[in-house]
């Protein structure tokens, strides 16, 4: 029986999105819960799994806009699914030989010369016939699963160029040249530079459209300005160096800089509550909780997953939360629950080497902290005005001046600096 594969509810207020990529090909036999396609909405990008196992019939090609509840494929569950999800087992797939092969009397023990491993390619055999002649030749010659190669032609069709590029890039990605299809080709569709155009056009992804809209909105609504400070990272670096090994042994995560910044932020928010608030019309909403957003750059754009109740988390708790969220962001598994409701955002431009920047607010939040690269700089320290080389970082705090006064913003940022320069303050709460 064919079961329609519908676009699931992915969160409140999300009605549509883009089906950006099929991870399996038309005609493949898939297992229940196997990742089938990538759905990109204006809020989040996620992988959608199969409800049931069986033969996949794709109804909506990659690149189309889809609505929640729309059937994008059918799964014929009368076809037995392979045991392990991603790799089609030869035994399980064997009954799914192309009809032509089944109808012809097969000479016993004499497999056809051109398809040395018929069982392996059979799962995609239905789609091989749909390929262009040159692509068909390449796929058979190299025993490829065309479903794992991203197509740049009309409607996502594979061109010879796509397959040649895939073959060219494959050794680096999968040195063993494993015959099992890779579950998710992460590479974004490459720009066809070979055609030599000076300009090409691409559709803006919903995620980026939403991001663009929010950034402009923030710029236009808030009375935004930025205050700067600098922080001597010596103590934090020393602490990390001293405790790194023990921390990892005890907690199973690395002690990074981010936990210090998140904890310092929580401390400063408690110290200057005006920053932990936002404007709603002519009312001021004060937050009495500490959900901190951490900006993460992904291939599909910037996302800001939120660490819940960071005030109640230990350093290890913050680090594991960040690790988990970053992994989800990378693999496109963030849900709306991961993204909603932050009261403040920490953005680390330092990982790309930024020295100084003015971050844009993440509405409706009233402030955002910008971290930057740590650079060794000569600074004047001590009573005797010595010049020493210290690992310095510039910090930027952009804030909504409608709500936060300059004194509060500067005090807030100064507090973060103090907590980072003397991390024991975080322990002693002084």
């Amino acid at each position: 029986m064919s079961v329609p594969l519908k676009v699931p509810e992915v969160g409140e207020s999300v009605r549509e999105g883009f089906l950006t990529e099929w991870l399996r090909s038309d005609g493949d036999v898939v297992a229940a819960d196997e990742p089938l396609y990538v759905l990109e909405t204006d809020k989040v990008t996620m992988t959608i799994n199969a409800d049931v196992g069986g033969r996949l019939t794709i109804k909506v090609p990659a690149g189309e806009e889809v609505e929640v509840g729309q059937a994008v494929a059918e799964i014929d569950d009368s076809v037995e699914a392979p045991a392990t999800p991603p790799a089609p087992e030869p035994e399980a797939a064997a009954p799914e030989q192309p009809e032509t092969a089944a109808e012809q009397p097969t000479p016993p023990a004499a497999p056809e010369a051109r398809t040395p491993k018929p069982a392996q390619s059979s799962a995609t055999a239905g789609s091989v016939a749909d390929l262009s002649p040159a692509v068909r030749r390449l796929v058979l010659e190299h025993d490829l699963d065309p479903g794992v190669i991203s197509g740049s032609g009309r409607g996502g069709r594979l061109t010879k160029e796509d397959v040649l590029r895939y073959l060219d890039e494959r050794p680096r990605e999968a040195p063993a040249a494993s015959p099992a299809p890779r579950p998710a080709p992460a590479a974004p569709p490459a720009v066809p530079a070979a055609s030599g155009e000076r300009q090409t056009r691409r559709r803006m992804s919903p995620l980026r459209q939403r991001l663009a809209q929010r950034l402009v909105e923030a710029q236009q609504t808030a009375a935004m300005l930025t205050t700067f400070n600098e922080v001597d990272m010596s103590r934090v670096i020393a602490l990390r160096k001293q405790w790194r090994e023990r921390f990892r042994e005890r907690h199973g995560v690395d002690l990074g800089f981010m936990s210090f910044f998140v904890k310092a932020t929580v401390n400063a928010l408690a110290f200057v509550p005006a920053v932990n608030a936002f404007l709603d019309g002519d009312e001021i909403v004060d937050n009495h909780y500490y959900d901190i957003g951490v900006a993460v750059s992904t291939e599909r754009g910037l996302v800001v997953p939120v660490i819940r109740d960071a005030d109640r988390l230990t350093f290890a708790g913050v680090e594991s939360a960040i690790a988990e969220l970053a992994e989800k962001a990378r693999t496109g598994k963030l849900t709306l629950e991961n993204l909603n409701g932050g009261v403040f955002t920490v953005s680390n431009g330092g990982i790309f080497g930024s020295m100084l920047s003015t971050p844009i607010l993440n509405p409706p939040q009233s402030a955002i902290l910008g971290m930057h690269a740590i650079k060794k700089r000569p600074v004047v320290v001590g009573e005797d005005d010595r010049v020493e080389v210290r690992p310095m970082m510039y910090l930027a705090l952009s804030y909504d001046h409608r709500l936060v006064d300059g004194r509060e913003a500067v005090t807030f940022l100064k507090r973060i600096v103090e907590c980072l320069e003397d991390p024991e303050r975080l322990l002693l709460e002084v």
Partner: protein, 463 residues
Amino acid sequence: MADYDLVVIGGGPGGYVAAIRAAQLGLRTALIDDNPVLGGTCLRVGCIPSKALLESSELYWQAGHGFGDHGIGVGGLELDLERMMARKDAIVEQLTGGIGMLMKKNKVEVIAGRGRLLGTGKVEVTGTDGSRELSAGHVILAMGSVPVELPNLPFDGRRVISSTEALELDKVPKRLLVVGAGAIGLEMGSVWARLGAEVTVVELLPQIVPFADRQLAQALQRELEGQGLAFKLSSRVTGAKVTSRTVTVTVQSEDGSETLKADRVLVAVGRRPNTRGQGLEEAGVELDERGFVRVDSYRTSVDDVWAIGDLAPGPMLAHKASEEGVAVAERIAGQPGAFDASTVPNVVYTSPELATVGRTEEELKQAEIPYRTGRFHFRANGRAKALGEEAGMVKVLAHRDTDRILGVHMLGPRVSELIAEAVVAMEFAASSEDLARIIHAHPTLSEVVHEAALAVDRRAIHS
């Protein structure tokens, strides 16, 4: 509510196709044209009548020069030019009448009169019964183009003529001078040469059909010279004296100056967008320095006003205009209409025909794109031999590394039809190997395309 969802100004292959597509998509559509006969330049005084005359004149020429080889003798060959013209007119009448029918069938309201854009959503139409104003959600400008006039050789409609008059001469000129070796000049030059005129073609550039692949353009020139056309390349018309019976034209080239006498001069140096005196700039439509409407994805500088076809930059071709019309109509209806300018085919209906799509070798060299070339000649093709039309070749240009087809250039019999295969292939980003691995019927002219694709990889079978 506006009177119409869409008003299209201009009933040529850009405008009428846009109107039909819009009506198909449920838009209330009106089409304005000041000519009671729809179809524009292409159907009335361009592509279609010229093809009719090219076919008739080719048969006449074949009867006189080609039939002998087939063992057919034709005695007392006569030319009934009047009848030839009547046949041409009948074809035009059928096709333009057909467009009127199509408008009715699709419920497109045809408004006779001169359409003038007033601004966003406003069009004035002036007919025999005066002027009125229409309101429209969107307006598509599709007024086409007009022949370019040479300042020192202005059209007089009698001795100095444009393509329009060249399609309805009442007798074969003794000597016809053609200025401009583009598609129009070569096609009309061919018609009258085949019918007996002594034709000389003057071209400013060093190559005929300047947009074509150089090798094929040169081969075409040799073929046309064999048919009696004379060429003066890299030559400029510097002066002219027109009397009631003859025109004396001074032509300047590197070799010096000479005077050519002719009883008619066809000026076919190109066409310009029909944007002068249309009130476009008053309505706020920006034009570029060459008179084309400035467009961004066919949107003009005025909101909800679009421009397509010869008004918009790009080759002035009917099929380009039609596709743009479809794309714009779809976008007005909220669909993602798209148009790919890199796969517009271009055909010159000489004998042999020339057809081209994509980039030429010269363009690839200039862009420093590495490519491989596959060539195959019609003289090695059975069908071409049987037709007695062995001149020309097919040339396939493919990227050296990816094998993607970058351009296909054809000179030979019926290549106007063969080019379609190359366009389909390029639209699908095909490689030369794709073409090479596709079955082509035997014996057909299309085998030359197949062999040329094979030749990219140096594995043509019959060479």
